[in-house]
Symmetry: C2
Subunit: 455 residues, 2 copies
């Protein structure tokens, strides 16, 4: 299939320019003020699908942001691959830490810098271009359907219903997703496991109004102090999570499994240097690779309360807030954990304050068997284009919808991503290597080929 | 001196209207964007002093906001009273909790609602009007100097040097300040003690940039979690402050002193009801009145870090911040406590994070002897206008400059304030009772009288 490389060499500048067009639209699904931008991005993605030669392209509405659908059905006797991606992106703040505006993409050091460059516009768009190449050359060896949603970064709240509603339309043999990373550009890997997510928001109330800390300080419960005490109580001195029954459903890996995963290339010194860390910190008894993949976590993602402006204000505030999320591992349920968190948070609240807890989106953890045809096809495709066998890897992030596909479409998902952990997705200066972008476009067609052959 | 009441009855509407003029200027000293408003307020105050008949009124510049000066020297053989007040106000946020705009004063239920209505524009302006009455009626029995500064809410950083520089000009026998409260409108009191203040700001850094909480969560120190742990470590289960040597200089009151102060009218039920508190909370072994006056405290005044916008962002942040202040009691030194705080904060920081600590303004605690001429004059003045002897009271707040006057001018300060603890100074919907405003104007001239007589 030499035409693949030839097409890429010939058209790569256009491929990149087209991606930049998508990156210029600020499709931040979490922030209401970008609502129009999200709809505009769906519009733009649908045009790209049509240009690539997909049939029956349509923007399918949901109670939230729409899903863009396109397909190429060759022969109903051939296997069908459902490609999934998302066009929404994470909020860009803190804006002051970006070296260039998040929605004015620039290319520097062979990397594309913009919010969404990697997660997931860049990776999603690789599939559109891979299809373009295969269709131009009448070389598509199987049926392909593609859906691109706009609510992944806020928990894909409407996708479950959507998939259930369009079961027939979305029927497929396997789901292919590029929203994960490889270990390094010369160390390809396929993600075979993902953590789930349980994201909570808490509010702690002391007095009914902000007070003068001199007049009332010492006698009135300070909600910030109380919230800090409660957050501190969520882990013990070994960084075990102390929420009652939190670990009950966690499946411990065998020593061999742990040994195998710790053989992946990893340098703790480089890790600490890259993050300028005085030291790492995590659950006692586990390595960094384990802490970020096979172990559940709890992190405060945001906290605020009282006076946060310039200078000094001697206020004893009425309220304090925090966003707290937990990463879950196979067999834990986000719904169950949300309940355990709420019970524990209420249980440890000092009697002098009022607390309220609400759950944002959740997602279930998943594992893909490495002996499946789908995994083998991905392995062979990467081996062909990278020149070496990819390493099966557990990812620390969450793609809540993977569990959905299995439940609703009874199809396994292959997580063949091409990003790097150092791409700063969800951080200022998110970027995506041009090498990775083009390598993805090159590799995806081989997945089609080998999957069709081995099916 | 019946003319006092007569003047008040005749002109009270004008007095109030003039105060509202001052309240319309947003002189928030903590926030740079109100810089011009602060200078404009100094200008306005100087006009009010001239209109009242004060001599040599001038706006005296400092490295920060200017001090407005005015005087009326009758006879160098008569005692001289230095009146102190401030024209700057606390920030108004959270703005959404105000029932009417903070700088568009309104009158409701016989109260003036606006930021600064009580603290301290309202109380400062009582002195201007009291002087106007006495001068109009050629009844001033002593010399009066008045200074109104613009940096009290940010720690009066430049006033120390100012007073030292103008020692001669400000020479006086006593300092009179109205920036405190009475127990109730039918229970007058004079503040004989104030707490000091030590205000710190801390920064905790984990990784060098915001990270994806899925990719890194579990292995990287989260600065918010770390900050919360550290704040939780600042008090023990009895709400004793755990900073090393924190209590070393605290002077314990005698049982009799404690008994006396606890005889002040106070209802814990009303207190809890007013603040809608599930329960009070404070240092074990002390009453609410003691916790808010004779005991030191630590309160987080503000905290922020990570994602605090709409919805959910799965970020593991790089930094977390907090503003933390301590109220100090007689014999504690704000400078020494700042050092102890910094040492302790660094000591309890987990090795995996970097911390930095900086001190905002501080202020020293003070006590006024109840057997002084100045106190007796205030007592008699209030007894005359309220019809009952005021109760000597320790205040929980801080007026850092009181210690300055003693050091630089060798003059004691009388804290004869007319506000109420329920005036919501430093909170949304700050207000000042018209009764209190007029009662202050009526009482101040009697302080002149009795002080001159007893001197």
């Amino acid at each position: 299939m030499d035409f693949i490389k030839q097409n890429i060499d010939k058209y790569k500048d256009r491929y990149i320019e087209e991606l930049l067009e998508l990156l210029r639209i600020p499709s931040v699904s979490a922030d209401p003020k970008y609502k129009e931008a999200c709809f505009a991005t769906a519009e733009a993605v649908s045009h790209k699908m049509k240009d690539a030669g997909l049939d029956n392209v349509e923007i399918m509405s949901t109670p939230g942001f729409p899903v863009v659908y396109g397909e190429k059905m060759i022969d109903k006797n051939l296997p069908t691959i459902l490609v999934y991606g998302h066009y929404d992106v994470q909020p860009a703040d803190p804006l002051n830490l970006w070296h260039s505006p998040p929605f004015e993409p620039i290319i520097k050091d062979e990397k594309i810098f913009a919010r969404g460059a990697c997660d997931d516009k860049g990776q999603m768009f690789m599939h559109v271009k891979a299809l373009e190449i295969m269709l131009e050359n009448n070389a598509l060896p199987c049926n392909v359907k593609m859906i691109v949603e706009g609510e992944e970064e806020v928990g894909s709240d409407n996708l479950g219903e959507f998939i259930a509603k369009y079961k027939e339309k979305l029927a497929c043999d396997v789901v292919l997703v590029s929203d994960t990373s490889i270990i390094a550009n010369d160390v390809p890997s396929v993600t075979v496991g993902l953590r789930g997510l349980c994201y909570m928001e808490v509010e702690v109330t002391g007095p009914n109004r902000d007070l003068h800390s001199g007049v009332y300080g010492g006698a009135v419960p300070n909600p910030i102090n109380a919230l800090c005490e409660m957050i501190a109580k969520m882990k013990d001195e070994n960084d075990y999570i102390t929420i009652d029954q939190f670990y009950d459903d966690v499946i411990e890996l065998s020593d061999n499994e742990r040994k195998a995963m710790n053989e992946a290339p990893f340098s703790l010194d480089d890790y600490k240097k890259d993050l300028k860390l005085a030291d790492i910190r995590g659950e006692k008894g586990y390595t960094t690779l384990e802490r970020t993949s096979i172990r559940p976590t709890i992190d405060v993602n945001g906290i605020w309360g009282g006076y946060i402006g310039e200078g000094a204000k001697t206020v004893l505030p009425s309220k304090a807030f925090a966003k707290i999320s937990m990463r879950l591992v196979p067999n834990q349920s986000s719904e169950k954990i949300a309940k355990l968190f709420e019970d524990y948070f209420i249980k440890i609240a000092p009697p002098s304050v009022h607390v309220s807890v609400k759950a944002h989106h959740g997602g279930e953890p998943v594992v893909t068997p490495t002996d499946s045809v789908a995994y083998k096809a991905a392995e062979k495709a990467m081996e062909t284009t990278f020149g070496k066998k990819p390493i099966p890897q557990r990812g620390g992030g969450s793609i809540p919808i993977v569990a959905l596909f299995e439940a609703e479409l009874n199809a396994k998902t292959v997580l063949m991503g091409f990003g790097l952990d150092s791409d700063d997705i969800h951080s200022p200066n998110e970027h995506y290597g041009i090498f990775n972008f083009l390598k993805g476009i090159e590799t995806i067609p081989y997945f089609y080929k080998y999957y069709a052959e081995m099916f």
